[in-house]
Symmetry: C2
Subunit: 390 residues, 2 copies
């Protein structure tokens, strides 16, 4: 085996054609980072659905959100739940493994198999913890480029993602416009606002306030900052739902008959939030949460272009863009998507824009939202025809 070529390993799985594993990049093929550091021994965990066609024209990269992972359409190995985008990826669905070769990889900095702060630092043999270098959205995309290079893919038929995934989509179009045929950016923004940063800072402070965080070195101490991470998740989770959705789902409904006159979870919304926090810590690493929220806060696509967002898209005129927002999303509101579309228009790019009317809030892209399905299907079919996919 040529030890300068990346190696992939991992079990084969059933259902529709599913593959994947961990792509390991040898020393000397380090990931160059925005911070100036280079990450050696990069590993990227990924899943694929479907098969690359003969001319390599049907590859779709699905980019995940902050707490997502590569299990977009395969059961999650920890929770056993269906993939987070099983509603979109599957036979007869907008992303169809019978037609597309769908790739979903865990971002660098993540905790589901890609190199991240919980990984072992090859130079010390110990977990990185806070010695892991800071990463950015552009770094995540650079790692994805290495992955698709290793998979032998030149141009992606589509890059698609929601929330942080949408930011990666924009970064792809800005940095690698010749390798992207179409780009679907859902419920995202071209930069993090002060309020976005503020919510993330609350989460980070909650984690770092937990004495079991141990300055990031909790792994060595055999503990985990579960309480802090749960609080971080609870705070973030509120921003993923609209006020109306919370009210519709829970209102002031009590868990039991009457009030407890104490600090137990009296209201259903409290036990729901507590459950969100408690279940999250089973599947997510606290340091990864710090690193990835930081990457989001640092995200400002226009910054390297003198603050002019249109300049970021100057070379992306051949990319077909679809920008989607949800009317009740207050994390990355429709106004943020409009800013993106305005910049795309100013840059002379082809952009479709749809604001989907829903009361479900930011997380609508995971949920049963027929207009989202219709829009994705229509856009991808049309782009597929242009690309020569049946």
């Amino acid at each position: 085996m040529d030890d300068t070529s990346p190696q992939s390993s991992g079990p084969a799985r059933s259902a529709f054609e599913t593959a994947g594993g961990v792509m390991r990049f040898p020393k000397g093929k380090g990931l160059r980072l925005d911070s100036g550091a280079t990450l050696d021994g990069l590993e990227i965990a990924y899943e694929t659905y479907g098969r690359l066609n003969a001319d390599g024209s049907n590859a779709v990269l699905v980019c995940h959100a902050l707490t997502g992972d590569q299990y977009a359409a395969s059961p999650h190995p920890v929770t056993g739940k269906p993939g987070w985008w099983s509603r979109v990826i599957g036979p007869g669905l907008p992303l169809d493994p019978q037609k597309h070769f769908i790739i979903s990889s865990n971002v660098v900095g993540g905790c589901m198999g890609s190199s991240g702060p919980a990984s072992t630092d090859p130079s010390t043999g110990k977990p990185y913890g806070l010695t892991f270098p800071m990463i950015t959205i552009a770094d995540m995309v650079r790692a994805q480029v290495m992955l698709i290079d290793a998979l032998g893919i030149d141009t992606l038929f589509a890059v698609i993602g929601g929330s942080m995934g949408g930011m990666q989509v924009l970064q792809w179009a800005a940095d690698y416009p010749d390798r992207v045929f179409s780009a679907v950016c859902i419920a995202a923004a071209a930069r993090h606002s002060a309020q976005n940063i503020a919510f993330h800072e609350v989460g980070r402070q909650a984690i770092m306030a937990d004495p079991d965080w141990r300055g990031g070195a909790y792994d060595a101490a055999g503990v985990r900052p579960e309480k802090g991470l749960a609080v971080a998740r609870m705070a973030a989770h509120i921003t993923y739902l609209s006020e109306a959705a919370l009210q519709r789902k829970f209102g002031r409904e009590l868990r039991k008959d009457g009030l407890s006159w104490g600090f137990d979870a009296d209201f259903q919304v409290e036990s729901y939030l507590r459950h969100q926090g408690a279940s999250f810590v089973d599947r997510f690493d606290a340091n990864s949460y710090l690193y990835i929220t930081r990457a989001l806060d640092y995200f400002d696509l226009a910054a390297p272009h003198g603050g002019v967002l249109a300049e970021a898209f100057a070379k992306a005129r051949n990319v077909r863009f679809c920008v989607l927002s949800f009317s009740s999303d207050w994390l990355y509101a429709t106004a943020e998507s409009r800013d993106i579309v305005r910049a795309l228009n100013a840059a002379g790019c082809r952009a479709s824009f749809v604001e989907i009317e829903t009361d479900k809030g930011h997380d609508a892209f995971f949920l049963d939202e027929p207009q989202l399905d219709r829009t994705l299907r229509g856009f991808l079919q049309s782009a597929g025809q242009m690309r020569g996919l049946s």
Copy 2:
């Protein structure tokens, strides 16, 4: 001294006519609580500005918000800062000590001198901690009634407050309509929504996750859950400002030149939030924060009236209401105030309603907001004329 009459003590202060101290209610004059318990040895800390007139017709009760206190127009003894409503209370201001006798008291459950979880339980000689009984907004009002009784006031010319203060105003009008001439409810709601409860639950979980909380018995251990309380404050503080105000004040401005590539406070909004958290713990008690947020979550003015808010106001037809909201308040949005006004109208009450256009968010009632000043001045002058105040 008759040991069944309440006693007041405290230093006299200068500026305009200022008095106050702590009203101590003797045993046998306990505060009856919604939970069914009775709180014996009640103490209510209060400040007064101005002087009660001969016919007792000029008394105004100012009700404070979640983290407020009785120092509405006198310097805060811990922070040294001017009173939280010094912009509204003072000579020539809407609440004028030369005209009104203004009373501001610390709510029961608070931590600035009124009975609360940090107080000594007279039956044990130790701090209550979590053995302090649960309180409600109605309990706060009941304690205020005991205070104004002790001060020899029959009917309040006005009850006025913002946020949780506004809820107390509504509760006063519902429970003691014959003792309220006019009521000013600012940036409040008639009940806590699922989202409101969710944010409070995050704060409580942050406090209770802090190992220095010690199940509420931190006083005895000589520690304080400062980190948890700071995180709670940070999360809540985001809800007090509009997204636009945060963006206008901080945007993505950095503290230093360039990014730190670490978890220091890179962005100004981060250091602002950290400061909010750190300074809050100097002046507030963590258990009080638990109790008062719980009182807010339990608040649902319509609930004892079969869920019909208008019924809560059925006996308040002689009260002159002024309801104010801020257009960018997303904690207690204008829609909540409209619900109150609709119920007042349905009950046949006299209600003025003003939505103030501002981008400052919920906390606008503390801030320089000329339309708020004008509206308060106009309403109070008009009510004053009806009341026979010059």
